[in-house]
Subunit: 326 residues, 2 copies
Amino acid sequence: MSKSKDQSNNEFSLINRYFKKLTAQQDVVVGIGDDAAILKPTEGHQLALATDSLVASVHFPNEANAYQVATRSLCVNLSDMAAMGATPKWFTLALTLPKPLATTDWLQDFSQGLAEVAKQYNVALVGGDTTAGPLTISITVAGELPAGEALCRGGAQADDSIYVSGTLGDGAASLLALTQNSEMISERLLQRFYSPQPQIALGVCLRDFATACIDISDGLVADLGHICKASGLGAAIKSDLLPIHSELKDNHRNQVLEWALTGGDDYQLCFTIPESKQAAFEAWVQQANIPVTKIGNMTQLQHNQDAVLLDDQALSANFGGYTHFK
Amino acid sequence: MSKSKDQSNNEFSLINRYFKKLTAQQDVVVGIGDDAAILKPTEGHQLALATDSLVASVHFPNEANAYQVATRSLCVNLSDMAAMGATPKWFTLALTLPKPLATTDWLQDFSQGLAEVAKQYNVALVGGDTTAGPLTISITVAGELPAGEALCRGGAQADDSIYVSGTLGDGAASLLALTQNSEMISERLLQRFYSPQPQIALGVCLRDFATACIDISDGLVADLGHICKASGLGAAIKSDLLPIHSELKDNHRNQVLEWALTGGDDYQLCFTIPESKQAAFEAWVQQANIPVTKIGNMTQLQHNQDAVLLDDQALSANFGGYTHFK
């Protein structure tokens, strides 16, 4: 029952060894190997801190390989930084690992996956811990943003336009493909599931334009609902405006709308922009080549009205199955 | 397999509800309930960040109650801040909870334990996540300290005196009592196991005096060995100087030395102080009423010599069973 730094750090040292090859140690005064990491904050900035756990067979299939587990875990966690408009800088890892996976091969592949995402987004692994047990990856990401510029959920105003990044429904489509016939999944959906690209650049840009922002992990209706609730408003969105990839439209015509609205796991941003800033925002995303789509607008919340209306109707009227969102 | 903010946050909301009653939300711009917490760093300070996981039946007995699990988890994590000389400010919690424990009673007691420790040390819970599975508590603590003043392991100099705080061997003694006859354990040992007091005030003071510091989680020999290795030095300690509580001396005469040296789980600080600063340091701890004991001194490391010598002998010569530390 006693803890052993020496024993528990064996696996962690391995992760760190592979990891150090690839990641930049930006603003890291003391890294892994002391009681805590010491990090150099940027003057005039605030700290963004978020923790998220991914569990095998809950957040990814048991069959996922080590590389895939690592990339999905870090991408999903970085998405929370994007949603706040923060630039991620450092992260720690609490890894719970079943004994059969504690092999050099598994850890090497896991480290490689972490390291490649970390390099892409310029974040440094600065600490962590490994324990034995069912595969669980808890990551804490620390990021920074200029003081007072965080994108919160509660800032939306009535008549603000509602935008989403990328395409919706891919999370649900990839999940179905992985659970039903994982060998037939397209490369695009496989990437969308295991490497959902956190929208960091967009999040940083939105500090200048957006009044509210959230990342879509539970599905558009649920997450837009969080913006509605925090802002004390309603939202009206149009089904024919929802950005859905042609792959889904072609192969899953009857399911795409449900997936786009409630599927979750998309890790796109949903955000609101006042009319006065839309032209400048749209010019920026065009030159930055970041796909975003206007899908509706925020509304005054009427008494007894559902927070999110689809095509002017309460969602439950269109989709009986969706009552659990209310 | 899809993640649900709504579902997974039910337990977490409960924790947070109880928690908010007690803890100060110091420098928290945005707390729990958005995609990430937004925190206000202190100007001119650096950030200390550490993650540690505690697993049922590994780091505490399965029989531990929710309150005990919470206090031990947070105390142990805060100890890493003490070891760096940092003042802890914020923490996040990744809680993996077996379904039978996800009751209001358990969560209320757990929250109460977290909240009381958090209040005592003035740290705020700012985020987290709950998942289902074997009981595991992963905490990430973020603290601060003036730039350049972190207490690292590698700064010790030859002839520096070696000190420890409090008493040694209590962790091992409490572990034995808990596993053998948990009803007979003394209140003092129960407290030492479930509420090991992180030496925050001492750590902060040591920024002015110490050349190296570590917290004793694996046992004095192993942890002092980390200072030796990082500093490129040896250490010579005296068995009759080791601070051991009379309770242990009276009841466990034949085991106390082994426990003090290798038992672990003590969460006291071990640190080195140059001769020029000893008088001022000892005056400070006396007025602050913090018990510390000088147990030996750092030495030049001789070829083929064990890093830590006890009473001028290599530890293996005294204790055959200790060869696993080499």
